[in-house]
Symmetry: C2
Subunit: 182 residues, 2 copies
Amino acid sequence: MVTRVSFVAGDTGGWEIEAIGAIRGAPLSRATRLARHEGPEFHSGPCVWSIDGVRSNDRYVTRDEKQRLAANQPALDRRDARLGALIPILKSDEWWALPQDERRAIFEERSRHIAVGLDYIPAIARRLYHCRDLGSAWDFLTWFEFAVHDRPAFDDLVGKLRDTEEWQYVAREVDIRVHRVA
Amino acid sequence: MVTRVSFVAGDTGGWEIEAIGAIRGAPLSRATRLARHEGPEFHSGPCVWSIDGVRSNDRYVTRDEKQRLAANQPALDRRDARLGALIPILKSDEWWALPQDERRAIFEERSRHIAVGLDYIPAIARRLYHCRDLGSAWDFLTWFEFAVHDRPAFDDLVGKLRDTEEWQYVAREVDIRVHRVA
């Protein structure tokens, strides 16, 4: 069975929201706390906003890339990873109309999404959730965890990705920065 | 917004069920009629069984394959297409653990899934729905429509696909044959 996640913004949750930056398109409303609920069911309850996703299969990685990621990717919930970021992204209809080979070429051969990400592990822990098939307002949610001293590296990573050809197909992006309180 | 489908088996619906064949794994219960509800929401109501899916982006096709499919693929609801088939499929965990390049190689370079399918259009109309990310018991639903005189061709098509390397990763498959009553 698929593993589900709900990111719930409101006044409870283990992460205090520092900033909600609208990178492209409509923003998300201000809230003080963020909770990440991962399990067999979506989480529902009172909130300012909530976004659901699922852990699913890889869509672009090759065997070699998958192995390099698996060998170096840190786990979530590291004791010293006091900072987090949730970045929901919606890509354009134009992106989704592209065939698989052209999406892959833009994603990696030309934008080096995986290669750039590999430069920042093991410092930056990352988990990708899919939501496009759920009929969500978003296509993906990426959750990151890192230490305070790796904040400049994280800013550098997202800055590099936002400069790529792939990001020309991003229709909406919000960058939610948090720190751990629990 | 995503387009949703619900295939509902019971005693109403525009398709009379002729046979429900369990090709691999657990069967589905017998019912007399099948309805295909496609729209912005899933359909709920009394039924013997119901399976939901969504229309989503292509996962394997190249630009060239996509164009050849688009140029030749017939629409659904052709007047002379009196027969239909619904084939829900679940692939194995082993399949989903493969990286994208290896799934593509098995799917097309070695099993020729797209090339074989192209040999049977424009006779066989086909629509693929995804359900893996919905937490379904199935990964895909494929719906076919064809004329009575193309039934041998359709049997030939599914027979060829079931002989491929790709099909070694099919964990469950049911083949529901119907004819149009409405």
